[in-house]
Amino acid sequence: MAPPAVTVELSGRLTEEDAITMEREVWDQLQTAELSLPVLFDLEELEGCQLLARPALIALQTRIASQQRRSAWVASRPRFRGLGLLICHEARDPLASVVPNRELATQWFEGDGKREDAAQRVAKRLAEIKAGEAK
């Protein structure tokens, strides 16, 4: 069974007003939630996101970063994974990740890695290949 998380399901076309309301409501909830509780943003039913909605999403992610709380943006469309990545990037939140499904979100919540760890894996694999040790 997946561990509990504060889950935010976004659907339809997200407007600036929707995003501002969502930011306020989720932040209200997170201020009293256990810090060990991660946040899952589910974009499966999202159809679009106004450009003007992005600042509120980035502001919320920045607040989550200030709590050092783990979070994940789940999207099965590349376009919305890109949106999630932009938000994590602009919020400078190393504990936020973008994943294609909820199973990988659960793995992310259970681990202690950071998004930037991918660079260490690249260096390790390059060294393995150079040494002829690739599996």
Partner: protein, 212 residues
């Protein structure tokens, strides 16, 4: 809110962007700036070298064009139009230069593909790469997709190379996404010594249009 660059960083970038364009053949000033904003000058240099090493490693194993297809697919999956369009464009022109062939996936189609559900995206790639000459590249793309989506564990030498591409583009897209999420395909450069103004590119587009 964007972090301002220092005067020193701006001076460095002015020189670096010129040298980058001279030695590599295309400009990506806004991407370089985002790298410096995110990782500093040392990060730009470190990851720039790392990307070069990864592409060289993939090229040695799969050839120049398919190495570009693989990293282009990694960028496509991450939602980056700069990498999704740019590396597929580079791959397609290189293939055309090699033997006159037109790869079935048009780089201009990448933004539309990025709006599809992953399952529909893979179904479309499978339908387009149905000819036997594309069997190997299709298998590599399918395997990359499975590795990215966590459905399988790494178990072969190829997997090490495919994960190398996927992880490198997780790092790269961290910065390119700031420009690549909303970029128009026509604004993306070819990542090679020849540009969109070249005779080679003009002939490639003409041949692709004639294929339809």
């Amino acid at each position: 809110m964007k972090t301002n660059l220092s005067v020193g960083q701006r001076l460095f970038l002015a020189a670096y962007n010129r040298a980058f364009a001279t030695f590599l053949g295309w400009r990506q000033d806004a991407i370089n700036e985002e790298y410096v904003r995110t990782y500093g000058v040392s990060g730009l240099l470190k990851f720039g070298k790392m990307i070069g090493d990864v592409i060289a490693t993939l090229t040695e194993r799969y050839g120049e064009a398919h190495a570009q297809h693989l990293v282009g697919f990694a960028g496509l999956l991450n939602g980056c139009g700069f990498c999704g369009v740019g590396h597929n464009l580079t791959a397609n022109v290189l293939l055309f230069q090699d033997d006159g062939s037109i790869f079935p996936i048009d780089e201009q189609d990448v933004p539309r593909l990025q709006h599809l559900e992953d399952s529909a995206l893979m179904a479309e790639l499978e339908a387009k790469l149905v000819d036997t000459e594309y069997t190997h590249v299709l298998e590599l793309l399918q395997r990359m997709y499975s590795l990215r989506n966590g459905g399988v564990q790494s178990e072969s030498e190829d997997d090490t190379y495919l994960l190398l591409a996927l992880d490198m583009w997780l790092v790269n897209n961290e910065c390119t996404i700031a420009i690549g999420l909303d970029i128009e395909p026509e604004q993306v450069p070819i990542f090679a010594k020849f540009s969109r103004d070249s005779e080679l590119y003009r002939r490639y587009r003409e041949a692709r249009t004639a294929e339809i």
